[in-house]
Each structure stands twice: as structure tokens, then as C-alpha cells.
């Protein structure tokens, strides 16, 4: 009798342990059912026109208050577009949008002083509002990770956004 109870308890403990452990071990295979389903949902809803969001980051700037968001989209034909939204900076002379090869733009202007490589995207179209800039084909965005609103005349950074994987 006692043995049966012991065995039963042991079995129950094992079963309970299994119930808790099984999900911890198994990697839900999203790659199969759910993922397929989500992929379909995503294909239906999001990829109709084929634009893909690659990177995004928020602007910050102290001396010249800069705010808004920078996002890099890839269009169906592979073209990369940088879009500024909710954007605001101070107006100034000869202001450009550039990409800088830095890991981090938190050091504000320092990334301009060193010999960091730059990619020019064009003159700033306006100091307020939504705007798009084409990124030259072949630009390595894992390397050029910082968007800078850059006053060429005074070599000053108005504001910068670090692009993070979307």
C-alpha cells in the first residue's frame, strides 16, 4: 500500500516536473505553423507594396534643439530611403543631412571631429516637417549608423540619431 502511494507520488512529481520543464526546453517552432501564419498575415497586410522598415532612431541635440525620428525604408526595387518624421531643428545656413560611420552618436559633436567617414544625403529640405532623402545604393548601413543634421559652414552637428535595427 505504502509502496503504491510512494510510487504514485513519485510519478506525480515527475509528471509535474515534466509539465513545467517541457515548455522551457522546447523552442516553440515558430518557424513552422505560427510563423507561416504570421508570415502570411504580414505578407497580406504589410508587404503589398513591398516597403520594408530597416532601421529607426530618435534625434537628440542640445545646443541646437533637434527632435523627431529618422527611419530607413527599403522600397520594393531595393532603393533605400531615409525619412524624417515629427522632425524639428533650428534653421541655419548650409545645413545638410549626412550619415556618419560611428557606433554611437551620444558624444554629440565628437563624431565629426575624428576621421569618421561620411555619406552626403543632400541639403536639409526644411527645418520642420516630414521629409525623405535617398540613400546612395551600396551604402553599408551597419557601418554608417548615425544620421547627423550637419551645418557644413561651421562643421557643427545640430542633432543626431543613432539608427537601430527595426
Amino acid at each position: 500500500m505504502l509502496r503504491t502511494i510512494k510510487a504514485g507520488m513519485g510519478f506525480a512529481v515527475l509528471a509535474a516536473a515534466f509539465a513545467l520543464q517541457a515548455p522551457l526546453r522546447a523552442q516553440d517552432s515558430m518557424k513552422q505553423d505560427d510563423m507561416k501564419h504570421d508570415k502570411m498575415m504580414q505578407d497580406d497586410k504589410m508587404r503589398q507594396a513591398g516597403a520594408k522598415t530597416l532601421f529607426t532612431g530618435k534625434f537628440h541635440g542640445k545646443v541646437h534643439k533637434t527632435e523627431g525620428r529618422a527611419t530607413v525604408y527599403q522600397e520594393a526595387d531595393g532603393k533605400l530611403v531615409l525619412r524624417l518624421t515629427n522632425f524639428k531643428t533650428s534653421n541655419g545656413p548650409d545645413v545638410h543631412v549626412i550619415l556618419v560611420a560611428t557606433k554611437d552618436a551620444m558624444d554629440d559633436a565628437d563624431f565629426l571631429k575624428s576621421d569618421n567617414e561620411r555619406v552626403e544625403l543632400g541639403s536639409l529640405k526644411g527645418n520642420e516637417g516630414d521629409q525623405n532623402y535617398e540613400i546612395p545604393a551600396g551604402t553599408d548601413l551597419t557601418k554608417f549608423r548615425t544620421v547627423s543634421i550637419y551645418c557644413e559652414r561651421f562643421n557643427a552637428n545640430f542633432g543626431a540619431a543613432l539608427l537601430e535595427k527595426f
Binding site: P23, T53, A76, R83, N91, G126, E128, G129, D130, F166
Partner: protein, 168 residues
């Protein structure tokens, strides 16, 4: 005194010749009027984005005890439905894990195990601990208030990961 005055008045043209270019140069360099004049633009989104769900909020998922990473983004579809999408997502697998929306100022978010009841909006059971996935949002959710996405193990009241949403 009189001679000095007369020299200046005799050479007024010199002041003009030097002063005007200096002023023009300074104006060109600094463009001070731009301090007061804004140049507004309003370009449309890239054509490929039109008609696609619009991203409203986004945030990065973080969790240390149960390592969680990825991005949570809330989209608004053309017909006005909102949904949460997790992308690049990884968390640890566990029993009875759910996706919730919580007030971003909720102090419970700083805890790893919740003692009290969590004020939250349920979005459903986590579909998978890895991979891209979508969750529909109830129509009534106020996203100005519920601005944190939480991956929550209901059985052990454990927070696996949190993403604080920011305006996209």
C-alpha cells in the same frame, strides 16, 4: 579734434567700402534671420508605404533575468485596426506566457516578480518564444496610457521582458 572729425567725414566712403562687405559677409555666414524664419516641409511617405499599416509606436524589448530582445511596434491598418507586432524577437520559453499592455508608469515594471495584481490589457498567449508575430489590439485600448508591452509569465507572475513604447 576738428581735424580728426574732418578726416572721418572726408573719408566716409572708406567706412562704406569696408563696412558693407563685412556686414554682408557676416550676414552670409550666420544668416541670423534664420533664427526667426522656419522652413516647413511636408513630404509624403515613400510611395511604397502608402496604404500600408502605419507605425504608431515602437520600442525595444528588454529583459535581463529571462533574456528578451527584439522590437515591439504598434501599427494602424488602413481600415483602422491596430495590432502589435514583435520583430527580431527572442525570449525564454516558459509556461503560460502572455503578451500584455501595461501603463508605462506602473511601478510593477521595475520588479521581476509581481506581487499585486497587474493592471493590464491582455493581448493573448505568446505564440512563440522566437520569431516575428502579430497580436490584435482591442479597439478600446487607450495607447496614451498603456505604453509598455510586457511579456509576462502568468503562472509565476514573472516579467520576462518589457518594451516602453515611444511615438514613431
Amino acid at each position: 579734434m576738428t581735424t580728426e572729425k574732418s578726416w572721418l567725414s572726408r573719408n566716409k566712403w572708406l567706412l562704406v567700402v569696408i563696412g558693407v562687405p563685412v556686414l554682408v559677409g557676416a550676414w552670409w555666414a550666420f544668416r541670423p534671420e534664420k533664427l526667426f524664419i522656419n522652413q516647413k516641409v511636408n513630404e509624403a511617405a515613400p510611395a511604397a508605404l502608402s496604404g500600408e499599416p502605419e507605425a504608431l509606436y515602437t520600442g525595444k524589448l528588454e529583459g535581463s533575468l529571462h533574456q528578451t530582445s527584439g522590437r515591439a511596434t504598434i501599427y494602424n491598418t488602413a481600415d483602422g485596426k491596430r495590432y502589435l507586432r514583435l520583430s527580431d524577437f527572442t525570449t525564454s520559453n516558459g509556461p503560460d506566457v502572455h503578451v500584455l499592455l501595461v501603463r508605462s508608469d506602473d511601478k510593477a515594471l521595475n520588479q521581476e516578480i509581481i506581487k499585486d495584481k497587474l493592471d493590464s490589457v491582455e493581448l493573448g498567449s505568446l505564440k512563440g518564444n522566437q520569431g516575428d508575430q502579430n497580436y490584435g489590439l482591442p479597439a478600446a485600448v487607450d495607447l496614451n496610457q498603456y505604453q509598455a508591452v510586457v511579456i509576462y509569465c502568468e503562472r509565476f507572475h514573472a516579467i520576462f521582458g518589457v518594451a516602453r513604447l515611444e511615438k514613431f
